[in-house]
Subunit: 380 residues, 2 copies
């Protein structure tokens, strides 16, 4: 056992021992359950808390499912092992795309999912993950954490889903996905059967695409059997694990419908309100760490996976043609007008989001863009 492991298990014992010690001590004067700590806190603080966590992910995808497991690890570490979260893969506790509904109903205490899976319940959920032609990773985090975006979204979730959510993962700009035919112009999208998710479904429908939203675990078979002509999931590391490169040839970029999708931890509001303040702070910290950690993992693992798939010789890496990007962008902003007209809360959040999008895109057009275009090139 090395020093860190030793301190880890020792630390785990500390809070437990403190609680036991207090309880034993107080039994002399008070046979009830009240302890000094609980008196000081005004409620039963530092309790043992155990939560299940439903997720939307196959456990084999260690990066995206890792958002849930890393969150759980940090919650445990920061609570000396007294607050335990147990993440399960998609479908194990509830269907992979019904995590929010289950958290809302109290069927499970917590979830890890992509909020844009729930645009059928409300289009507002899309802001929590990604909007087509929206924000990059840094822009998204700036809007959520510094720009008031998360507070706005939390107010909406509390009122609508009796749920509180925290960003807890991001994939960065995704790839456009795997296609069995070349896309040479916007006309080639007509009738294309394509697996994707979020508002992209409605945007691409405007361009004639027939969209299906399948959970990650079901995409390979759909692509292999020809149930879809094309499919996107995340990017090289996940896509290689899911073997898409063995059943489709053309690998398009960028996934303009999700420049930086955020995954989130969702918690039933009643569960949340029962947590001691210290545990709430632990959740905030663990979720932020999970948010950054998932991005780091993808950024470290994607380059090698892309190289390997390209070296296999069967994969052709292609950018989407300009006219596809331009037509899609026009369709996206048309869609945002329609959604705003139907759902006032969408319009309200969109206004601030879109204003930030415009100024931040100007700033990222300066130093970041100049350095990135000087320094980077796609693989030859």
């Amino acid at each position: 056992m090395d020093r860190r492991e030793f301190l880890g298990s020792a630390g785990k014992g500390v809070l437990g021992a403190a609680a036991v010690g207090l309880a034993a001590c107080n039994q002399a004067t008070d046979a009830g359950a009240t302890t000094l700590a609980a008196e000081a806190a005004g409620d039963n603080s530092l309790p043992q808390v155990e939560w299940q966590m439903a997720t939307s992910w196959p456990a084999a995808l260690d990066t995206i499912f890792g958002g849930a497991t890393y969150f759980a690890e940090r919650v445990s570490a920061l609570s000396g092992g007294r607050f335990v979260v147990d993440p399960r893969e998609g479908g194990e506790l509830v269907p992979a795309l019904e995590v929010l509904q289950s958290v809302q109903s109290g069927g499970v205490q917590s979830g890890h999912t992509a909020s844009y899976y729930y645009t059928g319940l409300s289009p507002v959920t899309a802001f929590g993950t990604a909007l087509p032609f929206g924000l990059t990773y840094r822009e998204q985090n700036a809007w959520l954490y510094a720009g008031g975006g998360l507070e706005q979204m939390q107010e909406y979730y509390a009122a609508t889903f009796n749920t509180i959510q925290f960003p807890a993962g991001n994939t960065g700009a995704q790839m456009g996905g795997w296609f069995n035919k070349e896309i040479n112009s916007v006309a080639d999208l007509q009738g294309l059967r394509f697996r994707t998710a979020g508002l992209n479904a409605q945007m691409l429908a405007k361009l004639g695409v027939q969209v299906q939203t399948l959970p990650g675990a079901e995409i390979f078979q759909a692509l292999q059997t020809g149930a879809v002509d094309a499919a996107e999931w995340v990017g090289p590391y996940d896509d290689q694990k899911l073997d898409f490169h063995t059943v489709a040839q053309f690998y398009y970029y960028p996934g303009f419908w999700e420049p930086a999708p955020t995954l989130e931890v969702q918690i039933g509001l009643d569960e949340w309100n029962e947590l001691p303040s210290l545990y709430q702070d632990i959740v905030r910290s663990a979720a932020k760490e999970a948010n950054m950690n998932m991005m780091n993992q993808y950024d470290f693992l994607n380059p090698g996976a892309l190289t390997e798939m390209l070296e296999s010789g069967d994969v052709e890496l292609l950018p989407f043609p300009d006219d596809v990007m331009e037509a899609a962008q026009e369709a996206a902003f048309e869609l945002y007008d329609e959604l705003g007209a139907q759902t006032p809360e969408f319009a309200e959040i969109f206004e601030g989001w879109n204003s930030f999008r415009q100024t931040t895109h100007e700033w990222f057009g300066v130093a970041e863009r100049a350095f990135l275009t000087f320094a980077t090139q796609p693989p030859a």
Copy 2:
């Protein structure tokens, strides 16, 4: 007092009450300092810890000094107020550019600084902040956290400075700075007196620049009095606060010598080893949060500051000419060869870092670059 404030102060009391309770309880059987908790942990756990923190920053720069204050806030929140860090502005405890020396000697328990201020002690410190033509924000974090970079750097710091460090802030790609004359080609760098920091000093010296490294608080006066012809600090938000736009006209980009400088918390190794495991985990979490939080703050605040300075009408926003970037890149890699020949540890870390730089630049040349170049433009 709202619920959150109430729980905050209640939570703060919990651990304190637990320790007090245990101490009082144990006095009955043991007059010494040993408590049940301490017995369980095998050392004196959950102690009250108070650290001073020396920084390199003017307190008025709420973003970069905020890396230290936000770290301190999170440490306090996650420890129920028992672990207190007190950050002071540059020069208050020790000279702004001598934080590492003071942490090393035990003069102060902790610091928040840029490790590349200490390239005079060892060029290896540069990897902790930024190397010219190095890694972007996401690439840097991927290398540090997922790619083993931080472990390598921590081993080096432990052996060389008796210090452990954690990334705790980033500014993103900086601006190239404020110039009193236009830079139309690499020849215009000859004899230029320029405030900058890190290995950039040695790189630009190869191109004829006379470099001075001044702390942030001293730059304005040097630029105003003509002691330097040009100066770079961070980017629009800080630069506006420091009034550089009132004494120089040409605002160049990008700061190719620091595509994503990391700031770090430095802790004396003896202090670190005395911390209970739980407090060490708190430091890890608080530093990661501070790392992300500083980036979010800069990304949220820079766009507006840039717009305001450009609208003042006296500022001209200009990209560095290609030949300047190319000549500087050549000088940088020549420098890395020289430093590696002099310092074996530099060569060892450089090898892995540079290999990662190449593959990650290929990956960022695909989806991220394609989306960023489609979506962003500098302000008109």
